[in-house]
């Protein structure tokens, strides 16, 4: 196997990193060239990811090692779990880029925006392919830094406040994470991500230390995953432009946190150790609390994007919950939600962006009758919302179904209760919106058809239909569900 | 003679105390200058006549002129201080306590180390034959540890550049020559013997107390005298020959160190048959640079010119 092929993760990473560098170097001067490069890079990445997907499916593991600090390597490692995240981000990067190009047309500082946007995706790629905690941390921080300019992009004082809150939370979180990583390093030396974990030997000798480390790592990542009570940054970050919110919620930041938690539980501590030390239970409780809390808060939001943000707080915790339940079925549910939630949430945010951009609508009570004026957009919004609620056969249902199965199988029936309650709450905060959009009369006079421009609508349609498809065709061979089943199989039978 | 030593030490301490606590700045400066002279005397007592010469010429003489000249340029009444005594404030008291403690420990440490080997010093005395000069201090300065001396010339040059940047000459129109012609006549009378003794000191450095620094300081003193009496004044025009002379010492020193590497195999080593002439050459060039640098530190101008009546 040639080294160039072996180094695929590096190329995937570089495809967005170099794009970012070129965009920065070009400056504001060459918009067409910039857009071309951006799209070309996104397409190239998609192709590369496709190649890798084939490889991993065939059982190949890509791995690149760079010595970084004495005794510590930067490892880029593409396994099945990485591919789940990578594919999602590669596809959604393309969609979001197209969307953002249309969304930000004629607004200032676009080069800066797209540069950091690409950087953000590069960081996500790094997080997905990180082969040890150290590498993970490197890209995790890079993500923090690359996202901040996007959050404050508008440069208003509100955006600045959001940026400050974002930084306070995430930098605080990464400090905690770093502490955890250093402690782990001093306890056990360099640890790579290996299915089943590598810390079993230390469980007997030093359980307190492991508990502390686990708590630190999960707290550090929980900040980005917006676990309650450290979710505060997410709703305020809603001031960012819609594509940024979409990216933040569906792919990059929140998912990075959730993905990190998955890595820690699966590949650092290992499911058995997590369970035997009692961490899994605690994590499940925290996730459940976040699910309910986020949904409750969402009900009282009047701003569309804020309501979606609290919805994210709630939905991302499904992933954590799935992992924390620590049995194969629940794990399938949690992991597949990583993809499903991403597709659904990005659809919803794209729609919110369309509303805002086309008609200047931000608040929910302005949505009256929007379905007649923007039927396609609203249809996609409906798809996403119903999927979130978990209506069969949409994507959300698949996730919740497996989670429920897992809870039953694991004998944790209270989780089923949580799921049901959450579904009810989801319905409470989504259905009124749908009702307004479709059945309420539009405000006087202007009820002409005014759909969003194609550059916005296209990605929205694509994301919405994809969200629909992953639910409908969940049984197919190449669906995320099938992939996750494969993955969980590998994880639980080392 | 212990009585004299004790008296000297006591006077040094009293003057130091006076220098710190005097209410008027002028008194503090005067105390400092007198202290410098007494220090020179003490160093003669401590078998260090060349250092005494240097201290008297540079430390007390030249520095004294500089201090007084600067004092003149301060606004009247500046630098008066009200509360120099330890009992006049808690900060003072703490500082005093700390310094007393330090003094006690230092004195004990100095007392403790009155005996012991000195490998470097012994080696210097043992290798004096090869150094090209008979005077141990000159040998150390120009040969054994020539590198220090060379870098020191760099310090001199840099402070000179810094001083010139400030454009605050000590010797300018504000300091008019006295109405009486006597000082000028005196300066004319004294110039030849001073120059002679300065050059002699440089030359004598090879075998008896003296050397480039002492001689250079005396020559600079001659310049200062001329400047003070108005025979010479600073000018804002700097010219090439002057700049060349200012770096002459350092440049010659470095170049001879570098160019002779093929002959000796070491940087700043001198072949045996050339060592004495080289030492003398370097010593004189250093003295010229030192004298000019010190003088221009005094005038604070980038150039010098004669005053024509």
């Amino acid at each position: 196997m040639s080294t160039a092929y072996q180094a695929m993760p590096l190329w995937v990473l570089l495809s967005s990193l170099l794009a970012a560098a070129i965009i920065f170097a070009l400056g504001e001067g060459h918009p067409r060239l910039r857009i071309g490069i951006n799209l070309a890079a996104a397409l190239l990445k998609l192709v590369l990811v496709g190649v890798m997907l084939l490889g991993v499916r065939a059982g190949h593991e890509f791995i690149v090692r760079l010595p970084l600090v004495p005794g510590i390597e930067l490892i880029l490692h593409a396994d099945a779990l990485s591919m789940l995240f990578i594919s999602l981000s590669a596809i959604l990067w393309l969609a979001t880029t197209i969307y953002a190009i249309a969304y930000l047309e004629d607004s200032p500082n676009r080069a800066r925006f797209f540069g950091f946007f690409s950087l953000c995706v590069a960081a996500t790629m790094g997080i997905a392919t990180a082969g040890n905690l150290f590498t993970f941390f490197v890209f995790y921080e890079m993500l923090t830094l690359a996202t901040w300019p996007l959050v404050v992009h508008r440069g208003t004082s509100k955006a600045m406040q959001a940026g400050r809150s974002y930084l306070c939370y995430t930098l605080g979180g990464s400090a905690v994470l770093l502490l955890g990583i250093v402690l782990l390093h001093s306890l056990a030396g360099p640890q790579e991500f290996v299915a089943g974990g590598t810390l079993a030997d230390y469980a007997g000798s030093n359980p307190q230390a492991l508990a502390v480390i686990f708590a630190l790592l999960i707290t550090g990542m929980g900040v980005k995953a917006a676990l309650a009570p450290v979710h505060g940054w997410l709703p305020t970050a809603m001031v960012a432009p819609a594509p940024v919110s979409a990216l933040l919620h569906a792919v990059a930041v929140v998912k990075a946190g959730a993905f990190g938690i998955v890595r820690v539980v699966y590949d650092v501590f290992g499911i058995e150790l997590t369970q035997s030390l009692g961490f899994a239970e605690m994590l499940a409780v925290v996730a459940s609390i976040t699910i309910i809390y986020g949904s409750l808060r969402a009900i009282w939001q009047t701003d569309l994007k804020r309501r979606l943000a609290y919805s994210t707080v709630s939905q991302v915790s499904y992933i954590v919950l799935g992992v924390a339940l620590a049995n194969p079925l629940a794990s399938i549910g949690g992991l597949v939600h990583l993809v499903h939630q991403g597709l659904m949430k990005i659809t919803l945010f794209f729609c919110a962006g369309c509303y805002a951009e086309t008609h200047g609508i931000h608040a929910i009570d302005e949505l009256d009758g929007i379905g007649r004026r923007m039927p396609w957009t609203t249809a996609m919004f409906t798809l996403g919302a119903l999927g979130m609620i978990g209506l069969p056969p949409l994507a959300g249902f698949v996730s919740k179904w497996y989670l429920g199965l897992g809870a039953v199988a694991g004998g944790q029936l209270w989780v089923v209760g949580v799921l049901l309650l959450s579904t009810l709450l989801n319905a409470i905060y989504f259905l009124p919106i749908l009702h307004r959009a479709w059945f309420k009369p539009p405000p006087e006079a202007d009820d002409g058809l005014a759909e969003a421009p194609m550059g916005l609508l296209g990605p929205t349609l694509f994301a919405g239909l994809a969200a629909l498809a992953v639910g409908l065709f969940a049984g197919f061979d190449w669906s995320p569900l099938a992939w996750v089943e494969l993955l969980v199989e590998r994880e639980y039978s080392p | 003679m212990t009585l004299l030593d004790g008296l000297l030490a006591l006077l040094l301490l009293l003057l130091a105390g006076r220098c710190v606590t005097a209410a008027s700045l002028l008194q503090a400066i005067v105390a400092f200058i007198v202290l410098g002279l007494l220090l020179a005397l003490s160093w003669v007592r401590l078998e260090a006549p060349d250092l005494a010469l240097a201290e008297a010429a540079i430390g007390a003489g030249l520095l004294g002129v500089l201090l007084l000249g600067t004092w003149r340029r301060l606004p009247a009444g500046s630098g008066e201080q009200e509360t120099p005594w330890p009992w006049q404030g808690s900060a003072q008291a703490i500082a005093a306590l700390g310094c007393v403690a330090l003094a006690v420990v230092l004195a004990l440490a100095l007392h403790e180390t009155t005996l012991g080997p000195a490998a470097a010093g012994t080696a210097a005395l043992a290798q004096l034959e090869a150094a090209g000069v008979d005077q141990p201090v000159t040998a150390v300065l120009l040969n054994f540890r020539a590198y220090d001396t060379l870098l020191e010339m760099g310090v001199l040059l840099m402070t000179l550049i810094g001083t010139l940047m400030l454009r605050r000459p000590l010797q300018d129109g504000a300091l008019a020559a006295p109405a009486t012609p006597l000082p000028q006549s005196l300066a004319r009378l004294f110039l030849p013997p001073i120059l002679l003794s300065g050059l002699y000191l440089v030359w004598a450095g090879a075998y008896s107390p003296g050397g480039a620094f002492q001689g250079g300081a005396v020559l600079a003193g001659a310049g200062v005298m001329l400047a003070l009496t108005g025979l010479l004044r600073g000018s804002t025009r700097d010219d090439l020959p002057l700049r060349c002379l200012l770096v002459l010492g350092a440049a010659l020193f470095t170049l001879s160190g570098v160019l002779l590497i093929p002959l000796t195999g070491h940087f700043m080593a001198y072949p045996d048959d050339l060592v004495t002439p080289l030492m003398v050459l370097i010593e004189f060039s250093l003295a010229i640079s030192i004298a000019l640098s010190l003088m221009m530190l005094f005038t604070g101008t980038p150039g010098l010119c004669r005053t024509r009546p």
Binding site: L66, L68, V69, P70, F137, E141, M142, L145, P149, V152, R154, G155, S157, M160, G163, L167, L171, A175, L178, L179, V182, L183, H185, S186 | L106, L108, A109, L110, E112, T113, G116, A118, A119, A120, A123, N143, F144, A146, Y147, D148, L151, E152, G154, V155, L157, M158, I161, G162, M165, L166, L240, R243, V247, A251, T254, G257, T264, H266, F267, M268
Partner: protein, 480 residues
């Protein structure tokens, strides 16, 4: 052949400075040549050091214990490398920065090679008294450079700097005197064996030397001269001062602590120094956060960042050694980039009050990028040299069981993020009116890209630490 390298490193720039002085007008190209040659010489020297024993030059050939030796070991080679890289960058940057001012330009191009020679001399010296002379050279070269920003504006800062520096070096010299009294030699290599034990003057000398160096290095109680001097100097000079000149003092401390002073110092002294460093980190960062002028923010950041290097002393293991030295490198590069970027902003705006920075990201995009990237290293976020250093120090603190330094390191990083983002956010804030008043032209590409190149290098240091740490080697005299 290799023995000539240390000598050339000192004398090539020294003679260049003298030549420039005699020439009497600015000749920037000469300095470009010198800094390039200097870099080549340092690279040659580093390759010689990494392949074998330290390179030693015996000046005058008088041998131990009399002669002064120049010695380049791993630590010295790294510091020389830092100096050489920064010399190239700063020399390039200074061409446009001093172009319009012929007289200051001449002084800059005279003093800067002399200062470069002094720094090289300091890093190469193996003699306690010669170190005193080089310390003085470095300081007295640095202060006139500060004055280049205009004597009226900088005279207070320069005077304060001079007073503290003089006091520091004399206190150091007092320590050297006591050491010589006991050991009879000044050679660093001979001192550990020559120092008798159980004397009063040994620890006293160590204390004096350390205090003197701390004053020169602007460590916390003695930091008060630094912000004004570094904040008011021209940008190129501030970069040299913060990245190299104060670093030289800390370098000296590292060198002496692990060498001649090793038998004289106790663990308690190390803890005390560590505590000073920790206080410097917290206090300096806090002060940086409160400043209202950009260059003062950066200057106080130096006060804080120097503290990290002091954390070596309480831990004194190889990881801490590597961490401290690597922090020196990373901070040097990053801080130079920060000052150059700040200089560009100052050049454009004519002032550096923070509120004037609103919305300047358009004209100064590249400089701000440099500021941000260098800030990453200053904050100790990955991937950057600052992070690598912080990681090493963190590991060392856990390895030695001194967990309290961990909290300091992490808190310091967060505070640094505070002041860096405080600047960056202003640049992102929308200006009230589109055409904000500005003073000068947009800095040219040379000014903007030298800063960016340095900032990128600071990040790259996070990826290429292995060969550099190899060059550094283990802690001298350390067992672990």
């Amino acid at each position: 052949m290799t023995e000539a390298l240390p000598v050339l490193l000192v004398f090539v720039p020294f003679l260049a400075g003298l030549g420039q002085f005699v020439l009497g007008r600015a000749a920037p190209w000469c300095q470009q040549f010198v800094s390039g040659l200097n870099l080549i010489l340092v690279l040659l020297l580093s390759s010689a050091v990494v392949h074998g024993d330290p390179v030693i030059a015996d000046l005058g050939g008088w041998g131990e214990p009399l002669a002064i030796h120049l010695q380049a070991d791993g630590l010295a080679a790294l510091m020389l490398l830092l100096t050489a890289v920064l010399a190239v960058a700063v020399s390039l940057y200074a061409i446009p920065a001093f172009r319009d001012e012929p007289r200051p330009a001449w002084r800059f191009w005279t003093l800067w090679p002399l200062l470069l020679a002094s720094l090289n001399a300091l890093f190469l010296s193996r003699d306690l008294f010669n170190l005193y002379v080089t310390l003085e050279l470095v300081t007295l070269g640095a202060i006139p450079l500060v004055l280049l920003a205009g004597p009226n504006k900088t005279v207070d800062a320069a005077l304060r700097y001079l007073l503290f520096a003089l006091l520091g070096s004399l206190v150091y010299l007092a320590g050297v005197a006591l050491i010589y009294a006991q050991a009879g030699t000044l050679d660093l290599a001979l001192l550990p064996a020559a120092l008798p034990e159980g004397t009063l003057s040994g620890p006293l000398a160590a204390a004096l030397i350390i205090t003197g160096v701390l004053i020169k290095g602007a460590i916390l109680p003695f930091h008060i001269w630094l912000p004004a001097a570094h904040g008011n100097a021209p940008a190129a000079v501030s970069a040299i001062l913060s990245a190299l000149v104060v670093k030289a003092a800390i370098y000296l401390l590292l060198r002496l602590w692990t060498g001649p002073l090793e038998p004289l110092v106790s663990n308690d002294a190390g803890q005390l120094l560590g505590a000073l460093g920790a206080t410097a980190i917290l206090f300096g960062s806090w002060q940086a956060f409160r400043q209202s002028r950009l260059k003062l923010v950066v200057a106080y950041s130096t006060v804080a960042q120097l503290g990290y290097m002091l954390l070596f002393f309480p831990m004194a293991v190889t990881a801490a050694w590597q961490g401290a030295v690597y922090h020196g490198l990373a901070h040097g590069i990053a801080k130079a980039a920060l000052f150059l970027a700040a200089g560009n902003i100052l050049y454009y705006l004519g002032q550096d009050r923070l509120e004037a920075l609103r919305g300047i990201d358009r004209p100064l995009a590249v400089s701000l990028l440099a500021f941000g990237l260098a800030g990453v290293s200053i904050m100790g976020l990955p991937p950057s040299g600052g992070f690598t250093a912080k990681w090493l120090l963190l590991s060392a603190s856990l390895q030695t069981g001194q967990w309290w330094w961990t909290t300091v390191l992490i808190a310091g990083g967060l505070l640094a993020a505070g002041y860096i983002f405080r600047v960056l956010r202003l640049a992102f804030l929308q200006a009230d009116d589109a055409t904000a008043p500005h003073h000068g032209p947009v800095p040219g590409p040379l000014m903007a890209w030298t800063a960016t190149a340095l900032a990128l290098l600071a990040l790259a240091l996070g990826l290429i630490s292995a060969p550099l740490l190899d060059l550094l080697g283990e802690m001298p005299g350390g067992t672990s």
